[in-house]
Structure formats: C-alpha cells, structure tokens
Symmetry: C2
Subunit: 428 residues, 2 copies
C-alpha cells in the first residue's frame, strides 16, 4: 500500500503555502507511514514564477489552470485568499473530481454551502480546518466529536491582531492607537488593519462555526459586528476594577429555534477561561448540553500553525480518497433563522458623563426603567466636569437598551454616553 | 438513506451508560439528520436486571453474551470498566464483526494495541475518545488534525479528582486530608481514592495519548508515577510566592527517538494556560513542531460529558459502517522506546530543613555541584528549628538529582529533605 502516491497542487505560495510545502517535505516519512501512501507536491500557481523563493518547488506556474485542470493532481490546496478568483478555480477543480483543502475563511463564509454541494455532486472532498482559528482543531471537533451533543453557545477569540492589541492596552495601559502601532511594528497587524479591528475577519470565522454548530446556513453578512476602535483605556481600567477584562468576542447562540451571531468587544469575568487568552492567541469556548464547557486554544494565524491545519486536512482527504469512501461535505440546513440583534438578550456596561448635581441618578435610573432594562449595579465616579456614572445592567433586550441610550442622550443631566459594551461569560 | 437503522448494544448501564442512552434518545432527531440513519438502543447488559432504573430500556439482560453475540447489534458500547471481563467481551464482539466504542482507559492503556489489530482483522471499528479526558475531544485531534505535524510534548491535567483537591489546597489553604474529605463529601472523589491520588488513573490516560502522539507502543506500566499525597500546604505556599501553582501533570515527551512518560505533581508557572485550569476540569496542552502550543479544556469525567464523547464516537463509527469504508484502527509502532526516568532532564524544586548555622548553604551547594546539578535560585527561610533552604535547580538528569538527594540526607547540616518536586512549563 505504501507505493501509492497522491499529488498535491497549490493555488498560492505565500506564507501559508510555503509552510504547507515545508511540512509536506519535512514530515514526509511520518505522513507516508500514517497514510500508507506518499504525498507529492505537484504544480504551484503563483503571481510571479520568476521570483526567488525560500523553498524551491519543481513546477511554478503563473496559470492556475495548470493546477486545477492537471489530471495528475489529486488534491488542490487553495491558499491564495479572497473570494475571486479562488471560487472559480475551486469550482473547476471540484468539477473535475479533485478534492480541495482551503484556508480561505472569506470564501467559506460566503459560498461554503454552494462549494460543499458541488463537492458532493462530484464525489470530491472539501475541507477547511485552517479557515477558522488557524492551527486550532475546531471544525472536526464541532462536526464529528460533538455529533451526539447539542451546542448551545460559542464564545470565540477569533482574531489574533485584536487580541494582541487588547492585551497590550490591558497590561501596559496604552491606548488603542499606540497598541495598534506596536502591533504593526511587530508584524501582528497589517498596514491596513481594517478587516481585523472592525471585526470582519472574526465575523467570517464565526459564520462558519455557527453553521456547523447549529446545522444552519449562516453567512458572514448575517453577523452583527462592532470593532475595537472605540475601546478606550478608561473602559479597560473600569472593567478591571469590576473584575473583568475586555476581549473582542465572536458569539453564536441558539435559542427557540433561532440563532444569534455577533462580533463585538465584551467584558469577560477575569475567572473565565477566555480571560487568560493573551497576546495573539485564539480560543474557542463551546457550551454544549451534555459535555458542558469546552475550550480549544492555540495559534490562530502564522505560516506554520496554519500550514499544520492545512496539511492535517490534506492527510484526512487523502485517507478518504484512498479508502474509496463516498464524501459527505454538504452542510445541513435545518432552517434556523438568524435572530436580529435587537431581539437578543444581553447584559450591558454603560459609562455616562454626567452633570455633578443632585438627582442625576434618579433621572438615569428611571430612563432605564422606562424601557424595562433593570440595573444590576451603579458606581458614581469623579466630580465636576469629570463626574461619571458607571452602570452594569441585568440581561435585557438589545433593542430596549438602544432605546434607553437614545433617551439618555436627551437628558440634560447626561453630558455624553461615553461607552457602551456588552458583558459575556457570566458574573465577575 | 434515512430509513437505514443501526442498533447499539451496551455493556454496562452505570452513570456513563445511562448518559449514553439518554443522549441517543434526546438527540435522536439531530443524530439521524447528521448521519442519514437512525440509531436504536438494543440490548443492555447489567449486573442486576431487576433493579429499577431512571432511564428505562427495552431489553435488560444479565448475560453480556446477549449483547456481543446478538447478530442484530451493529455497535457495542462498553462502559463497564476494568480489564476483565471487558476485554473478552470486546474481543468476541470484534470477532463477530461488530464495531466497538469504549470509555475504558484501563483496558485501552493495557491491551489497546491488540484490540485495534483484532478490529482491523475483522473489518470492524474500535474507538475510545471517552477513555481520555472524558468529554474533551483529544484522540481525534491528535490522530487526525495533527497528522501532518510532529508532537514534541504533551502536558496534561488528566484527573479531575486530584485537580479538585489541589485547587482547594491552593485557594483555601487547607491540607491534603481536608481537601480529600471535602472532595469525597461532594462526590468528586471516591471512597477509595487510591487510583486517583496515586496517579494510576492519569498514567493510563497518558499512555494512550503518548502512543498516539509518538506512533509508539506505550502501556500504562511504562509510565513513571508519583501521586499527590505528599504535597503539603507548605509546598503550595512556597510555590505561590515564587509564581507557581502545583498541578498533577501527565507528561509525555519525545527526544532523540525515545519517549519519556511520567505522572507527578509539578510546579507550573502561574502564567501558563494549565495553571488556570481549576476545580475538576481537565486540560491537555500539546506542543507541536509546526502548530506551536495548543490546549484542549473541558470536563474529564461525569455521566453526560463522558456520554457525549461516547455518542460522538458511536456516530463516527456508524458513519464508517454505513460508508462501507475499510477501517484502520491499528496503532503505528515506530519502535520508539521508553526512556527511563533517571535519564530524563528535568528542573527541580527542593525544600530542605537545615541547621541554622554558618556554612550550611556552602555544603548544600557543593553537594549539588558534585552531581552536576546546577542551582538556579536559593531562598533561606525561618530560623532555629524551622530554618529551611528552598532551591530551584536548572534542568538536570533525574538520576543525578536523586543521587544529590541521597548525599544531602547524609549531610549533618541537613535535618530533612522536606520536599522534592519537578518544575514544568517554563520559567515563572
């Protein structure tokens, strides 16, 4: 059996692609022994085949058709990123019966369902472990290990750049701009950090997780999102004094047949396992009916961590191809609908700049009461121009809180709504 | 496809078995939709079929042959525990072509290799996710997700009872006996806690993990072990002041073609992700070449968490059976040998009761030097009869440290070697 070979072609040869080829080579013996077959690196499509590479490969081409149309290629690894032309190329590969492994979260979070169906029609495999949280095994555990359980909620730190920035802000007391600049200097943030800091990257990953956890069709566009650009050093200091840390969370939860999906900064109790996930690490906390709480922790990005997940998928797909087993990729669609953000029930932290005068609290409290938002605790801070009210609510409808804020802004005693943030993961 | 059915028979109907039947029933619809087939609960073998059960089943029998020999049973779930007669029954089931899911760590850690070979010979599946760390998915991630990577080291909190006891000792300052009594009162420890507190339970789980991670045949008897009965409130207090917490760790590591496997209490830096694993939770920290650090966290025991893992395996096996795929269960044997404890390189914490006189430190230090054990830091504590020396060494051969301790006991200025513990997970 060990004389069988399978050929792996690559679309893209950047940091992840280079890592994939390195692992396929350096771990070739172990992989061959685990698989009972040898994996060979075939054609690699790149933008500029003339550029000198750290890792040489036999066949570099500028024409991706030479990968997806080559009858000698068994498995296509797509690590070019972006929806187009990755989508068209993967479709072509699947239609010719090739199996595909992709690390492309944006693609899977938008057209993953269509691609999975196409893979099934063509008896091909489609896997994408690396698309969510890089090297952390989470797709397979959700889809297979928890197949006999029922997921209630997922809380994820799904973006390493923003977790790095928030860690610096928390541990060094610096503000957002300074922490971002440091992250950029050290290579943890890109020159244009928008997709990270505005939550779009985390939203794509969350859509994929929610689809698997809740057997439903959730795409990136379904996810409510709010980034971390508005988080201030003051918020972090207040949170800390109350026993919380601030994290950018992706949250997917199921209730009454609906699914809520959202990405936003949140106060997390210091004792919660997610609170100690520092620097650029990712973690996914899963609450399921039978198993209770699980957490999966590791590197969410980087050349080798991501390549480790891609090659794990390649070995898995190769096993399937060799066994002759009929692939089942298509995601189940139980028709759970996405519940609008305003109908979700959430706990809030609200920071108000207020006038330093008698009766302020009474006016504020009755405004919350008008909208059925119940206050759990209140602190009064500072005096004169720096007088502030800091409130934590009980769980309330998001829509009711938004209306409360509108009314608060109209109160003469409230100078400004300085901060609003959701609170997750239980009591501090 | 959804009109296909598979029948699941059970050996054992205690807390885990009851949980398995509950999940198979309550999640029947989701499972059927995920699998494209219906799972039916068949015969259940118990010691006393007359006893009233919380969860009724159609066929209770006192004769396990009615499960393993019944041609109508497709998958046998073994949740009776112990090596015999579980082994014989599973062998009979496999020989008749039935697939088996077991939660039996003791069995898998002693004869898992033989059972896997037997399963392969009979084209049957054998899975055991629940045998290690209860509900935490770790077998599948190690075997499949990391198939393209190379594991260097595993550090695991693999026993909930001892982690609960150490958490109470750490957070409430109580001693071992008191924490154990509380654990027994609350049901976290058994009336006879020996297998937990002496590390035997963790050693079985570690042997299974090490076999998978290092493609080698490691059985429970290969694992060096030391329990937590010798851990004192003083050790915990000293550790805390130096920035460490004490955990019972299972450690498997590969170097130079050998594998080291050991279970013992260890000082872990407070910042290490394992340090914040509290109460009866388990966690497995994996260091791999490409992916870097991963951690898997969750409930290591309990009826429903363990049942979640068993039913996940049942669904997985059912998928395999339905697909007609040829099972590959046999574990790879790359012939890595187990390195004796004395040849492993470890960092140590040593606490000495010493005479309160000049020259003590010089004598102690030269004894360490005689055996090539280099001291990293020393604290002198107390006076007169309570004078102590507290040392942390650099990494040294375990055998050299043991010889150092022998010589230290002979020094007139050393009244007693009060504590010796290994230090893991890097610098505090």
């Amino acid at each position: 059996m060990t004389n069988r070979t399978l050929t792996v072609g690559l679309l893209g040869f950047g940091t992840v692609g280079t890592g994939v080829v390195r692992l396929l080579r350096e771990h070739a013996d172990e992989i061959a022994s685990r698989l009972g077959a040898t994996l060979i690196v075939g054609p690699v499509a790149v933008r500029d085949p003339q550029r000198v590479r750290d890792i040489p490969v036999a066949r570099l081409t500028s024409d991706p058709a030479e990968v997806v149309d080559d009858p000698g290629v068994d498995i296509v690894v797509e690590v070019m990123g972006g929806v187009d032309p990755a989508r068209t190329l993967i479709e072509r590969a699947l239609k010719s019966g090739k199996s595909v492994v992709t690390a492309n979260k944006e693609l899977v979070a938008t057209v993953g369902f269509e691609l999975a169906d196409l893979a099934d029609e063509n008896h091909a495999w489609l896997e994408y472990e690396a698309a969510v949280a890089g090297g952390i095994p989470i797709i397979k555990p959700l889809r297979e290990s928890l197949a006999g359980d029922r997921v209630r909620r997922i809380l994820g730190i799904l973006n390493g750049t923003t977790n790095y920035i928030l860690t610096k802000m928390t541990e060094e007391g610096v503000d957002f701009a300074e922490a971002l600049a440091e992250a950029q200097r050290l290579g943890f943030a890109e020159a244009d950090p928008a997709a990270d800091v505005d939550g779009a990257d985390a939203a794509s990953k969350l859509a994929i997780l929610a689809s698997l956890a809740f057997d439903s069709r959730i795409v990136a566009g379904d996810v409510f999102r709010d980034g971390i650009t508005g988080v201030t050093a003051t918020d972090i200091a207040h949170a800390r004094r109350m026993g919380y840390v601030i994290k950018l969370l992706g949250i997917a939860e199921s209730s009454n047949g609906d699914v809520g999906v959202r990405v936003h900064p949140a106060l997390v109790p210091r004792e919660h396992p997610l609170a100690s996930v520092r620097e650029s690490f990712n973690a996914i906390f899963v609450e399921a009916e039978a198993v209770g709480d699980l957490m999966f922790y590791g590197r969410g990005a980087g050349s080798l961590p991501t390549a480790s997940a891609v090659v794990g998928d390649v070995v898995d797909v190769a096993r399937g191809v060799l066994s002759g087993e009929r692939p089942v990729n298509s995601l189940r669609r139980h028709g759970k609908t996405v519940r609008p953000m305003e109908d979700l029930t959430v706990q809030f932290y609200v920071l108000l700049d207020v006038a330093d005068e008698a009766g302020v609290l009474a006016g504020v409290a009755s405004t919350f009461g008008d909208h059925d938002v119940s206050i759990k605790s209140v602190w009064q801070e500072g005096h004169g121009d720096s007088a502030q009210l800091l409130l934590i609510t009980h769980a309330a409808r998001d829509g009711d809180l938004q209306r409360t804020l509108q009314d608060l802004r109209r109160l003469s005693s409230v100078r400004d709504v300085a901060s609003v943030m959701r609170v997750e993961g239980g009591e501090a």
